[in-house]
Structure formats: C-alpha cells, structure tokens
C-alpha cells in the first residue's frame, strides 16, 4: 500500500497545492495580514497548472492511468477540470485581494481556500466512491469557515452555520446513496482500467426493464446521490440555502461556490452518470429525472431572481438558474436503446458551458466584490450611476450580464447553443424550448442591472474609483475571455472534445 514514485508524479498538482497551503498557513502565524499569502497562492496555482499541463501531455502519449491503489485517475477529463477550477479560484482571490483588508487573518483565509481547492481538484479524478466522499468533505469544510469569516457582518456567522448544517445533511444523503450502490454491486469502484477490478457498472447484472433504474436499490441509490449532489449544486428543490449563504458570506466565498464548486460538482455528476449508470435501461430514467430537475431549476431560479433587491441574492438565484442550463446538458444523454447518436454532444456542451460560465461569472462577481467592498452594501440600488463613475466596472459587468442572458457575441450565447443543440439531439426538444424561454425571461433582471448602472444618476456619491492593477487585470481577462470565446469558440471546443472523450 506504499506510495510509489508514479503516484507522487500523478498527484503532483495536488501535492504542490497542499505544500504551498501549509506554507501560507504557517507563515500566517508570523505575518497574519501580509499580502504575501495571495502571491504564494498565485505561485502555487501557476506551479500546479504547469504540472497539470505536463500530466495532460503524459496522458496524451500514455493514455489514462490509475494511481493510489486505483482510487484516482489521471485522464484528460480530470486534468481539464483541475485547470479550470484552479484558474477560476486564482482569479477570484486575485480580484479580492484589496477587499481582504477587512479580515483579521488574511493568511488563514487564503490557506483555507487553497485546501478547499485541493478537494475540488480531487473530485473530477476520484475513481471510487470513498475517494469521492473524502474529496467532497475536503472541499466543503474549509468553505464553512470561509463563509463565517467576516467578523463585522452579522450574517456571516449565520451563513457559515447554515452551510455547515446543509453540507452535513447532503453528505449524509450522498453517503447513504453510495451505500446502496455498494449493496447493489458489491464494489466501490467507479472507474477501472484493470479488468480484474470490476466497476459498479460492470457488476450491475440482472436489471429489470419494468422497474425504474433497473432495480430498486439502484433507484434508491440514484435518487439519494442526486439529492445529495443537488444540495451541493443548488438544484431546485435543494436550493434553499444558496441565497442565504451567498448573502451572508464574504462575496469572495459566493464567487468560489458559484464557479469552482459548481464546476467540480458537475464534473463529478457527469462522470458518475456516464460511467456508473450508463446502462441503456438506466440512462433513459436518469435522463428524464435530470431533465425535469433542470426545467424546474431554470424556471424557479429565473422567476425568483426577478424580484430580488440584493445583488448577492440575485447572483445566487442567477447561479441556480445557470445550474439549470448546465443540467440540461447533463440530461442530454443521446442513447436511444443502445443506439448512440452524436453521443458526445451532451458532455461537450456541459464542459464548454462550465468554462464559459466560469469566465462570465467570475467577471460578474469581480465587479460585485469590488463594489460591495467599496459601498459596504450589496443593494442593487448601490450600482446606480456606475456607468458614469467607473466605465471599466460597468462595462465589464454589462458584458458578463449579457453573456449570462446569452446574447451574441459572447460565450454565453455559444454555450447555450451547444447545450440546447445537445438537448434537441437527445430528443429533449421540450426541455430546450423551456430553456430558451427561460433565457428570454432572464433578460429582464439582468438588463435591469445594466439599466440601473447607465440610466440612473448615482444615489451614493459617485466619487473616484481607484481600482488596483491586479483587480483591473482580472476584470480585463475575464471580460475578454467572455467575448473571445464567444467569437472564436473552436479552440475551446477542440479541448473539451478531447476532455469529454475520457468519459464516453
């Protein structure tokens, strides 16, 4: 059971992150509020991404490899998500750097964020159910502390506690579901490259076509696991905690939850569905289940977002609605009784949309992080006149909101096209229609914010904005990516095409 050199090499991105996290935490004992912690984090991210790129090239020549006693896998899919998650968190931390002055123990904040990101990095490469569970816990627990980090905001503690309770419940559901998977198949292995170590999917025999999901244990297992993950991904009807946590927690934490956690969670969901439940008798059932959840999630998220007065709550509901769109892509499993037609469209569209969503949502959150820190309020009204007082912030927020609506030429439009394309391909045209109409409805509240920025005169003193160079860099990068990926999507499409080959 010892660690081999190969294990260490394949785990190197995570190991690098953990080492740097320890450095940050220990150096925080001496310099609790130095911005060195942020730079260390950026360095760690850079090192980790470089190592991931090497791994990508290695996988390209050697094919995917399992390591750590078959509990983890290194394939393009996992590495793609690692890079996406790391980049998103790094950008969020960088743009929040100036707002960290309101915290007492800055180094701890950054250190915990790094540990959480290690958990998120492990999720897409987890190959058995136990590893999945451990990775989820590693990702969630630091977030509890981060959500409660703000000492001067009363709601912060509440939001931390709420997240803790909800995490516990959802983990329990997930674990219970996993137990049923184990009971039904006798193994915990999600993936395997070795025929002597069969996976759950291979062990599921004697399925009955008349029972939903093939057999009662699988039915229970799937419903419990999807519910557990549903909490993490804030899918309706498990979304109740989302707006409260986003509102109370520091904005940075909301951004991490909505972008990085979501990407990792969907990576896991997609992997489990496509590898564990890919049997033709089962896939129709979960496809329908997720399609219904997607329709409800989009509609509730968008309709409730319309009446929000608080920017962070609005972004929370927007995140719920966006999760619904991604879920459309997840549900688009084009398997017609084993006859797979353009089978890859679903996963490809999910990966593409998650990447685009990371760009546009980090852009939106960056502006909100900066304005909330400056105005000390997250009311939507506080954005009045932003167009005149800071053209950069207003411009970036406009681009990102238009992308969230799905207006060309942004990545949001392209992403929605790919997702709905996959849905129609999987015979889910009704879902695609609901999705597109939802996009039209969402235009109402997203454009409302743009309208407030440009058409209202400021209620809070306009004044001069001093935006730190690091923050403006993030703003330009994310808004630029939102536009460029919308105009030239093909390179990213090639990349996600290669990454999604790993799971289909």
């Amino acid at each position: 059971m010892g660690l081999s050199g190969l294990d260490i090499a394949l785990l190197s991105p995570e190991i690098a992150m953990v080492v740097f996290a320890l450095v940050v935490i220990f150096s925080g004992l001496k310099w609790p509020n130095s911005s060195i912690s942020v730079y260390t984090f950026l360095l760690a991210t850079a090192v980790s991404i470089c190592l991931s790129v090497f791994l990508w090239l290695r996988v390209e020549s050697n094919g995917p490899e399992m390591f750590m006693n078959d509990s983890l896998i290194a394939d393009h899919y996992a590495i793609f998500f690692k890079c996406l998650i790391l980049t998103a968190i790094a950008l969020i931390i960088l743009v929040s750097k100036s707002s960290f002055t309101e915290f007492n123990q800055r180094a701890e904040f950054v250190g915990l964020a790094m540990l959480s990101s290690v958990g998120l990095m492990l999720l897409p490469s987890a190959a058995d159910l136990i590893t999945i569970f451990v990775a989820i816990e590693l990702a969630s627990l630091p977030i509890v502390v981060l959500a409660a980090f703000s000492t001067h905001e009363g709601k912060s503690g509440e939001s931390g506690l709420k997240f803790l309770v909800l995490s516990a419940i959802s983990s329990a559901l997930l674990l219970y579901g996993f137990a049923f998977f184990y009971g039904a198949s006798g193994t915990l292995q999600v993936l395997s490259l070795d025929s002597s170590n069969p996976t759950i999917s291979e062990m599921l025999v004697s399925l009955d076509n008349d029972i939903p999901f093939g057999s009662i244990p699988i039915l229970i297992a799937t419903i419990l696991s999807v519910s557990g993950l549903g909490f993490k991904l804030s899918i309706v009807p498990f979304q109740m905690w989302t707006p409260d946590v986003y509102e109370g927690a520091p904005t940075t934490v909301g951004a991490m939850l909505s972008v990085a956690s979501k990407a990792a969670g969907f990576a896991l969901l997609l992997r489990v569905l496509y590898t564990v439940l890919n049997h033709e008798m089962i896939s129709d059932d979960w496809s329908l289940l997720l399609a219904i959840l997607a329709a409800i999630t989009m509609s509730i998220g968008n309709l409730v977002a319309i009446v929000q007065k608080d920017l962070k709550r609005l972004l929370a509901y927007s995140a719920i609605a966006q999760a619904g769109y991604v879920l459309v892509g997840v549900a688009s499993f084009a398997d017609f009784g084993g006859k797979q037609i353009s089978y890859e469209l679903g996963p490809e569209s999910v990966l593409f949309y998650l990447t685009g969503y990371a760009a546009m949502n980090v852009a939106a959150f960056s502006v909100v992080i900066l304005t909330v820190y400056r105005n000390q309020t997250s009311e939507i009204k506080s954005l009045e006149g932003l167009g005149a007082s800071s053209p950069l912030l207003a411009g970036v927020l406009s681009v990102s909101l238009l992308a969230l609506v799905g207006v060309p030429p942004t990545v949001g439009f392209m992403g929605k096209f790919f997702i709905f394309n996959a849905a129609v391909n999987a015979n889910l045209s009704w879902l695609a229609i609901i999705g597109v109409i939802n996009s039209a409805i969402s235009a109402y509240y997203y454009l409302n914010i743009i309208k407030i920025m440009y058409l209202r005169s400021p209620s809070i003193s306009g004044g001069n904005w001093r935006i730190a160079l690091s923050s403006s860099l993030v703003l330009v990068i994310t808004a630029g990516a939102t536009l460029i990926l919308g105009i030239l999507p093909q390179p990213l499409l090639d990349l996600v095409g290669e990454a999604s080959l790993s799971i289909i």
Binding site: I341, S342, L402, V407, P408, P409, F413, M414, F417, F420, N421, V424, N425, S429, A432, I433, V436, I437, S439, A440, I441, A443, Y444, L447, K451, Y454, L455, P489, Q490, L493, D494, G497
Partner: protein, 490 residues
C-alpha cells in the same frame, strides 16, 4: 465587399468611443461613416447582376467547423433591396438625430452598432450567423429607446426586447432542430444549400420547425396578435429609432418570412396560407380601424404600420393557391422597401413637428403648413404614398400584391383592398387636422426644417417618387431572386 458593408458602421462605432466627448465631432464622425456606407451600398446596388437568379458577392470562411457553422455572406435581389433601404435610413437616422444633446457619442455609437446588426441580418446566408445578428440588434435598440426615448420609455424598451426574445426563442430551437434533422454527414446551416435541398419534404417535423420560424417573424413584422409591442416602442422611441424600427427592423420579419418560410418551407407555408390570409385581413382592417381613433401622431403612424404589414402577409398567403405567381411575392418584397421609406418619412416629419411644437397631440396642431411648408410637403407626399396613390411607390407595391393574391383568396384580397380606402380616410384626416385649418397663433414663431432635416426629407422623397414612376428600377433587382425562391414550390 459584404464584410465591409456589415462592419463599416461598427468601425465608426468604435472610433466614436475613441474620439472623445465633443458632440460636434461625434455627429460628423457618425455622418461620415453612414455616408461612406451608403456610397458602398450604392456601388453594390449598381453593380449587382440583375439577370442572375443566384447569389452574388459570396464570402465564405469556416467559423465553428465542429458544427459546420460558417461565416457566409452573400446577397440576392431581396437582400440588395433591403440593404439599400437600411443604408438610406442609416443616413436619415443620423441626420434626424442632429438635435440630440444628451450623451451624443454613446447615442451615435449605438445607432451605428444597430446598423451593423441589421446589415448582418440581411446579408448572412448562414442561418447561425443570421441568428447572431438577429439577436445582436436587440441590445443597441433596447438602450436607444430606454435612454433617449420619451414617455414610458423603459417600459416600452423592455417590452419590445422581451417580445422579440421570446419570439426568437422559438426560432432558435427551430434552427437547431433543422440542423439536427439533416443526415449526419451533410448537416449545414448554409441557407443557399438548404434552399436547394427541398428540405421541407425530407425532414421530419418540418411543419413544427417552420412554425417556430413563423412565430419569430410574426412577432417582428408584426402579425396580429403579436403586435402589441409595436405602438409602445414606436411612440416612445426617439425619432431616429422610430425611423429605424418602422423602416428596417419590421422588415427583418418580412425578410425572414420570404427567405426562410417561403424559401425553405414552401409546402408548409402553403398549408398555413389560409391562416395567413385571415391574419392579413385582421392586420389590415384592425390596424386601420385603430389608426382612425389615434390622437397621438406617432401612435397613428405606428398603427398604420401594423395595417400596412398586413399587405405583406397577404402577399405571402398567395402561396396557398394552385397557380403560383411571383406577382404577389414581388409586391410583398416591394412593399417592404416602399413602406420602409414611406414610414421613415412620416416619422421624420412627425419628429420634426414634435421638435418644434413639443406636442404629439393631433387636436392641438393645425395650420402648421403655413409655418413649415417643407415638412408639410414631406408629410403630405408620405401620406399620399402611404394610402397608395398612383405614381408613388406605395401604389405599385399594393397593386402587385392585390393582383397576385386575388386568384388565391379573392375575399381576403377584397377585404384588404378596403383597408386602402380606410387608409385614404385616416391619412387625409390626419393631414387635414395637423397641417391645414386656421393658422394658430401659438405656432406663429415656428421655423421650417433645419438643413439636416431638409436633407433627410429629400433623401426619402427621391426613392418614393422614383419607384412610383419607374418601379422597374427595383423590380429588376427583386424579380429573378424571388423567381428562384418561389420556384421551390413549383
């Protein structure tokens, strides 16, 4: 060539953001770019080969190879006529906006962006690209109405945005479904290939797919009962945007109906023809009856658009007949152009009157012709063209539609022809109430149009008269292309 036609205005738009906030420079930059655009389009119009039934000036590049999405530009006669219309109205819109004082730079930047998007709609032959421009047009329009409009401007802007977005949601799904229902090996968004392929007979659910397109275009044109956004938007928009809305944005709906519903789904269109004929009658008569009751001059013109777009629908309903003639379709395409010019002229005059009297309430006006003869003449000519007086472009278009549609739906045609009588009534009455009558004291010190206004009126008067007297100048451009489109059914 076509790439520059699309992107010259947006180059201007970007340049405006660089040249600083001086309103005078902003105006001149905007004017320079729309005139440059008009010259380019004039060259296109003159050099366009009228004898061909095919497409000209094709530009093709791969955009998203995975889905065979292309950057594909081309024009046929239908496109050329509407591109020409858009270029003329672009100049008019800039001239008529000369008096805008608030945020001049941003205003013209958005106006030019709008022109780019509309050009893109008329020139793109890749359906995906077409949809991109179709959606792109909404954002500048929303802000132009919400920021520089009057009255309930934010409400109206949001209303038109949501109506169009929900309409185009159906089109979006139809585009995807159309793409996916082709055989895997030769899936394409290329409308030129699709038109040749006779897809309407080959693919499943062609009826539903064509209805998806129809809904989007019916909202835009608009066809009753999707018309309720129109009066609000046209009334509350600034003059130049009313001109663009009525002049070219509605035409996007008519263009889509002819290009996609008639061109790609002729059989489905012919199944729907009875419905279209009914919708046409309702549009024409209901629109006309409501116009009579209007007291707001811009609302009056807006509802007259609803009525006149009914004629376009009537022209298309001729697809229901056993003998397909191109006459009605020619008329419908000509009506798109002619109504664009005429309504633009009406809105220009109404805008100029409003600028001077500061009222749009018709009973408050009266005797204005004595104070502003040029605006008055513009308004009268546009009004007469609008009611279809011979020797104006409106007459040619409507007579062709009636001639073509009579064989198929004589009753509907007769009822729609009655709409012309109503038009004569409301137009003459409106002219009488605003321009004639005793000259009122409170209007005594008003001036006639400024030079930018004069240019705008002149630019619109020329095509109204030229096409009225010599319609072949435009029919030559249209005829062969429409013959090809209609030929899909034969």
């Amino acid at each position: 060539m076509l790439t520059s036609v699309i992107f010259i205005p947006s180059v201007g738009s970007l340049l405006l953001l660089l040249v600083g906030k001086n309103p005078r420079i902003s105006r001149l930059v905007a004017l320079f770019f729309v005139i440059l655009e008009l010259i380019l389009v004039l060259i296109l119009f003159v050099t366009f080969d009228r004898s061909t039934t095919g497409y000209s000036f094709i530009e093709r590049a791969n955009w998203v190879p995975l889905f065979n999405i292309q950057y594909l530009l081309a024009v046929d006669g239908l496109s050329v006529s509407l591109v020409f219309l858009n270029a003329i109205l672009g100049v008019v819109a800039v001239l008529i906006s000369w008096t805008i004082t608030e945020k001049v730079r941003e205003y013209f930047a958005l106006l030019l962006l709008l022109q780019t998007a509309v050009m893109g709609v008329f020139i793109s032959m890749d359906m995906f690209l077409f949809f991109v421009f179709w959606e792109l047009e909404l954002i500048p329009m929303y802000f132009l109405i919400a920021k520089w409009g009057s009255g309930r401007k934010e409400y109206s802007a949001m209303k038109v945005l949501l109506f169009t977005l929900i309409g185009s949601a159906f089109m979006f799904i139809s585009i995807i479904a159309l793409y996916l229902s082709q055989p895997v090996a030769d899936r394409t968004f290329d409308m030129m290939i699709l038109a040749e392929r006779d897809i309407s007979g080959l693919i499943p659910y062609a009826g539903l797919i064509s209805i998806g397109f129809l809904v989007a275009f019916a909202v835009k044109l608009p066809i009753f009962p999707f018309h309720t956004w129109l009066p609000d938007a046209h009334t509350d928009a600034p003059t130049a945007i009313s001109v663009m809305l009525a002049g070219v944005l509605l035409k996007m709906g008519g263009y889509g109906l002819i290009r996609i519903n008639a061109g790609l789904f002729p059989e489905q269109l012919s199944d729907l023809a009875p419905l279209l004929a009914i919708a046409a009658v309702i549009n024409v008569l209901y629109g006309a009856f409501i116009v009579v009751r209007q007291t707001d001059i811009k609302r009056l013109i807006a509802y007259s658009s609803v009525s006149h777009m009914g004629f376009v629908v009537l022209g298309l309903s001729s697809f229901g007949g056993s003998v397909i003639s191109t006459t009605a379709i020619n008329g419908a395409a000509l009506q798109l152009f002619s109504h664009g010019i005429i309504t633009a002229l009406l809105f220009v005059c109404a805008g100029l009157i409003y600028e001077r009297t500061h009222t749009r309430y018709i009973p408050d006006m009266g005797g204005l012709i004595a104070r502003m003869p040029l605006i008055g003449i513009g308004f009268i000519v546009a009004g007469l063209a609008s009611l279809g007086l011979p020797s104006t472009s409106g007459f040619v278009a409507e007579i062709l539609i009636f001639l073509g549609a009579y064989n198929t739906y004589p009753l509907a045609t007769a009822l729609c022809a009655f709409g012309v009588v109503l038009a004569a009534g409301y137009v003459l009455w409106a002219i009488q109430r605003t321009l004639f009558g005793p000259s009122l004291k409170r209007w005594a010190d008003l001036n006639d149009a400024s030079s930018s206004g004069k240019w705008a009126i002149a630019l619109l008067l020329i095509p109204v008269m030229v096409i009225g007297i010599y319609p072949r100048i435009l029919l030559d451009v249209l005829e062969n292309s429409l013959l090809r489109i209609v030929g899909g059914l034969a």
